[in-house]
Structure formats: structure tokens, C-alpha cells
């Protein structure tokens, strides 16, 4: 067997074990060292990706690597490393230091990384579970915050529903195809369609598409803000890279397009409408994530390589923008008495010109204003939809994007054009947060101007 296909995951696991063992002996004052160590682990995994020979299969064909999912893993590792760097100061200022928190995000990343390579429903279920359980923990570990416990519990319950749907779907998959391996199955069989429906529902719940979105706003609001940044970036990237692989096995079913069109239309319009009535910016961005899930699901409506390449480009850059915006919010939250109410953002530009400008940059990126990379993703997705003659979906996509501009612009207007009423003590940006913000904004701008740097790497 070819062991080098597993090198990135092995590096990650070794790193987790190392931090885990050090954590047993280290006291609380070494929290910073531990966290920075574990933030470096994904960097090593990233480097080890170059050692992997691809395309290859291993472990009785359960695990496969290809150029695309290696790229997905690279994006995932960068995101994990950045979100770990951004966590340190927030937890210290909030007085909620759990040294265990330094490796739990790595466990989630391990799960997501296995998910991207899985070619068998058993491995898919287990890797998804590994990632989810670590994420429930990340959401609920916040000292003396009732909201975070509630959010964690809600996420756990909803996640359990997804798990049961997924396992029932796998059972029907086995009943209809006689195997748990993902493969092409071309017979007309209602049992197979049922399994597809269940598996797709479970994955849609993880991707927070309407009508499976109920956990999203609460979990995002209750979770510690850097964790929200992680939740809104890393799992999305892994899921959509996995979706693109799943597409090759399922796309020929005539129900596939219908199901995805319903899911994405509901997500886009429902979330964009509900986002307007939100008073908390954190919740508003949670609804923006749901709307984006709608846009992304359009990218896997049918098989067309331009469409899927645009989707993967879009979702990778969206993850960086999303992580960046939540990190800015976590910097602001370190101020005494700062809630994420819209009014607290009034006149932010006067107090923190750099932070406000960066936040505006990310919000403009979400709208899809040209120099930002998300515009290229949106344009690619639109072109792909037009090419595959899914014109109604393409126009719905444009309409929803225009609709969404309003609530992003309102936050920008509040930050730049209005006077602040409440005074807060100034917030300091820590080194880790600065690094994350700089890299995220740099990537969003750089790949907007030179999109081919990433686009050429996505070979389907």
C-alpha cells in the first residue's frame, strides 16, 4: 500500500498528539506557547502535501487523493492555522483559557481533511462526525457564557439529526447498490433516490442550507467569535470540495438538479430577506453564510467544469473573507461592554480606521464588488450557469446578490457615515489577529486582481 497518501493527515495527527501530551504537563501560563505550536501544525501538514503522489487510492480504496482535494486540503490547513493564530488573545482577554482548546480545532480539521478524501460512506460519516463533535465542543467551551452552552446544545441536537439522516441514507444506499463505496449507479431505482435525498439533506444541514439552517444563527451567535470564524470557513471549504466529488456519482439523477435548485433558491431568498431584520451584526453574518450556502449549491447543480471550478474558487476565497470579518468582530468584542448590536458599530471608523476599513473590504467582497476576489467567483458561477443553460437559476443568483447588498451596505454606512453614541475603551489588535487579518485581506485582494494564480490550480 502507498502510505504517502496519508502523510498530511499523519502529520496533523502527530501534531495533535504532541500538543495533547504537552498540554497534560503544561500549566495555564503556557497557553500561548501551546496555541502557537498547534497553529504551526497545519503549516507542516501544508508542506507535507507536496510529498503526496497523486492521483492515488489506498486503504482498500477507501481513501483517495487527487489534485483537487489536495488543493482543498491546502486551503483548509491555511484557514485552520490562521484561525488558531487569531484565537489566542480573545480567550485570554475574555478570561476563558482552556488549554485543551489549542488542539480541538486541529481534530476538527483532521476530520474535514479525511472527509475530502473519503470514497466510502462509512468513512464519510465518521470523518463528518469527528469534525462535528469537535465543533460542538468549540462552540460550547466558553467560560460562564450561558449563550454558548445553549448554542452548543442546539448544534449538537441538529447535528445528531443530520447523523441519523446520513446513516439511514447510507443504509438505503447499501440496500440499493450492494456496496458502501461511492460509485456510479445508473439504474432507475426509487430506493437509490431515497438514499440520495437523505444523504443530501444531511450534508445540506452541515452546509446550513434552508430548510436545515435553524442551528446556524444561534450557533454562530453563541459561539466565541474566533470559533465562529472557524465554523464559517473551514467546514464550508471541505464540504464543497466533497460535494464536487459526490457530483460525479449523482449528477445523472433527474432529481438532483431539482433538489439542489429548491435548496439553493430557498437559502438565497429566505436568508437574504431575514438578514434585513437582524439587529446583531454577528447574526447578520450568520444569515449571510446561509445565503452563500445557497449560491454555492448552485455550483453543483449540474456537471460542468467551468461551474465547479468557479465554485471551488468562490468558496475558498469566501472562507478567507468570512474568517477575516469574524476576526475583526472578535477584536472589537474584546472591548468592555461591546455587544454586536448594529448601533455599537456606529462611528467605528473614527475610533478604528484600519479595522473599519478592513471590515468594509470584507463586506464589499461579500457583495461582490470588482477588485475583490469574490467578484471573480460570482462572475464565474454566473457564466457557468449561463453556459449550462440554467438561465432562471443564473438570474435568481444575480437578483439575490443584489438583494443582499442592502444589509451589508447598512453596516458600512453605520461605520463610516454616522457618529458613535457610545464610547468604548480602545481595542488592541494582537499579533496573531493582525497576521490573520493581513493574510485574509491580502488574499482577497490579490486573487481578485490575479485570479489565475488560484484558478489555474483547480484542475478538474
Amino acid at each position: 500500500m502507498n502510505w504517502n497518501i496519508l502523510i498530511p493527515e499523519l502529520t496533523l495527527s502527530l501534531g495533535i498528539l504532541l500538543v495533547f501530551i504537552l498540554d497534560l504537563f503544561a500549566s495555564k501560563k503556557h497557553y500561548r506557547t501551546l496555541l502557537y505550536m498547534s497553529a504551526l501544525v497545519p503549516v507542516f501538514s501544508l508542506l507535507s502535501l507536496f510529498l503526496v503522489q497523486h492521483p492515488a487510492k489506498g486503504f482498500f480504496d477507501l481513501f483517495e487523493v487527487s489534485a483537487v482535494n489536495l488543493l482543498g486540503k491546502a486551503v483548509l490547513y491555511v484557514l485552520t492555522s490562521l484561525s488558531l493564530f487569531a484565537m489566542q488573545d480573545y480567550y485570554e482577554k475574555k478570561g476563558s483559557v482552556y488549554t485543551e482548546l489549542s488542539y480541538i480545532p486541529l481534530v476538527a480539521t483532521l476530520g474535514l481533511s479525511l472527509l475530502m478524501s473519503s470514497a466510502n460512506l462509512v468513512l464519510t460519516l465518521l470523518s463528518l462526525e469527528l469534525a462535528s463533535i469537535s465543533m460542538y465542543l468549540l462552540v460550547s467551551l466558553f467560560r460562564e457564557e450561558y449563550l454558548s452552552k445553549e448554542a452548543g446544545f442546539k448544534y449538537l441536537l441538529m447535528g445528531a439529526v443530520a447523523t441519523s439522516m446520513f446513516s439511514l441514507g447510507s443504509a438505503f444506499y447499501y440496500a440499493s447498490t450492494g456496496s458502501l463505496f461511492l460509485k456510479e449507479y445508473r439504474d432507475e431505482n426509487s430506493l437509490f433516490t431515497l438514499s440520495l435525498l437523505l444523504i443530501l439533506s444531511a450534508l445540506a444541514l452541515k452546509a446550513s442550507a434552508v430548510p436545515f439552517h435553524f442551528w446556524t444563527p444561534d450557533a454562530y451567535e453563541g459561539a466565541p467569535t474566533p470559533v465562529t470564524g472557524y465554523l464559517s470557513s473551514a467546514p464550508k471549504v471541505a464540504l464543497y470540495f466533497f460535494f464536487v466529488q459526490l457530483l460525479t456519482y449523482f449528477h445523472h439523477l433527474k432529481q438532483w438538479l431539482l433538489l439542489l435548485a429548491v435548496l439553493s433558491l430557498l437559502s438565497m431568498f429566505y436568508a437574504n430577506a431575514v438578514a434585513y431584520v437582524q439587529r446583531s451584526v454577528k447574526r447578520l453574518l450568520a444569515y449571510s453564510t446561509i445565503a452563500h450556502a445557497g449560491y454555492f449549491l448552485l455550483g453543483i447543480a449540474t456537471v460542468e467544469s467551468t461551474l465547479q471550478r468557479a465554485l471551488l474558487f468562490y468558496v475558498s476565497l469566501y472562507a478567507f473573507a468570512s474568517l477575516g470579518s469574524f476576526v475583526i468582530m472578535s477584536v472589537l468584542e474584546k472591548k468592555e461592554g461591546f455587544s454586536h448590536h448594529l448601533l455599537d458599530y456606529k462611528g467605528l471608523y473614527k475610533e478604528h480606521p484600519v479595522l473599519a476599513s478592513l471590515f468594509a473590504l470584507f463586506l464589499f467582497a461579500f457583495i461582490g464588488i470588482p477588485p475583490m476576489a469574490l467578484f471573480v467567483g460570482k462572475l464565474g458561477l454566473f457564466m457557468g450557469l449561463v453556459e449550462t443553460l440554467l438561465l432562471p437559476l443564473a438570474f435568481a443568483f444575480v437578483l439575490a446578490s443584489i438583494l443582499s447588498a442592502g444589509y451589508y451596505l447598512r453596516v458600512i454606512v453605520l461605520m463610516f457615515l454616522e457618529e458613535g453614541e457610545r464610547r468604548f475603551p480602545p481595542a488592541r489588535v494582537s499579533v496573531g489577529e493582525a497576521l490573520t487579518l493581513l493574510l485574509c485581506s491580502f488574499l482577497v485582494l490579490l486573487l481578485g486582481v490575479f485570479p489565475h494564480l488560484l484558478y489555474d490550480l483547480i484542475r478538474l
Binding site: S13, E100, I133, L137, S140, G178
Partner: protein, 162 residues
């Protein structure tokens, strides 16, 4: 004859699930959960999966139920929110969806064709362990990581904050 046994076992299982959902006393709900496990173990036996039936009894009926009993005894019941009445509005909204999805599932299963899987298995233990330690060895390892993470999480969430 087979249908008779299956009918009996499945009615038993459905009734016990309803018991788990609707009984107010936690101990009664727990007992009804045990009865569900027995019914499912019966189904496994009826499908000639003795190993699964045995594991179901050992793992669920013994180990997990004991844990549930432990949890129930440690919960400070005087602080727990009491039953607040039946959620009528939610039930009325959800029930049609339940019916429709049940009909949809039943239709899809009855109309679907089942794959023929391999030959008659003689020795359950041998076959299960063979696939567990060859094809599914890697997922087995992943499962151990899941258990470890869940354990760490349970300790973290359950311990007293200093």
C-alpha cells in the same frame, strides 16, 4: 411465519419508541428504551445476525443503559425544568410533514429494487471481523479518535469550573 415475527417485533419497537418520547418519568422512559433495544436485538436475531444481536444486548442494554442510569441519578432534578405541556401548535404544523415523508419513504422502499448481496454467510463473527480488520480498518481507527475527542469534551464540559 416470518412476517408474523417481524410484525410483532416492529410493533413492539414502535411502541417502545413512543414510550421513550412521551413518558414523563425519566426512569420509565429509560425502561422503555431498554425494551426498544430488546426488540431491535430480536430483529437482528430474526435476520440471522446473531453477532449483532449479542453486541446490541451487551453494548446497549448493559453498558449504555447503565450510563444513562448513572446520569439520571446525578442530575439535580429539583433544578430541572418541568414538563410544560404538549406543544400543540408545533405538533399540528409538523404532523402533515411527518405523514408526507412517511408516505414518500414507504413508497420509495416498496417500489425500489434491492441489490443481491453475496452469498449466504455461515459464520457471522468471522465475516464481520474480516471486513472490520481489512476493508474497514481505517474507519475503525477514525472511530477511536472520535471516542477520544468525545471523552475529552465530556470531561471538559462536565468538570467544575475553578
Amino acid at each position: 411465519m416470518e412476517w408474523l415475527i417481524f410484525g410483532f417485533l416492529s410493533t413492539w419497537a414502535v411502541l417502545s419508541v413512543l414510550g421513550v418520547l412521551f413518558l414523563k418519568n425519566p426512569i420509565h422512559a429509560l425502561l422503555s428504551f431498554v425494551s426498544l433495544i430488546l426488540a431491535v436485538a430480536g430483529m437482528f436475531l430474526h435476520l440471522r445476525a446473531e453477532l449483532l444481536a449479542g453486541l446490541q444486548l451487551i453494548i446497549y442494554a448493559v453498558a449504555i443503559v447503565v450510563f444513562y442510569v448513572l446520569v439520571i441519578t446525578t442530575i439535580p432534578w429539583e433544578k430541572v425544568k418541568r414538563f410544560e405541556g404538549f406543544y400543540k401548535r408545533e405538533f399540528l404544523a409538523g404532523f402533515p410533514i411527518l405523514l408526507v415523508s412517511f408516505a414518500l419513504f414507504a413508497y420509495a422502499i416498496l417500489k425500489g429494487s434491492f441489490a443481491k448481496v453475496g452469498l449466504e454467510v455461515k459464520d457471522n463473527v468471522k465475516e464481520v471481523s474480516k471486513s472490520l480488520f481489512t476493508t474497514y480498518l481505517f474507519p475503525l481507527e477514525v472511530a477511536s479518535v472520535i471516542l477520544l475527542t468525545a471523552m475529552i469534551g465530556a470531561i471538559l464540559l462536565g468538570r467544575k469550573e475553578e
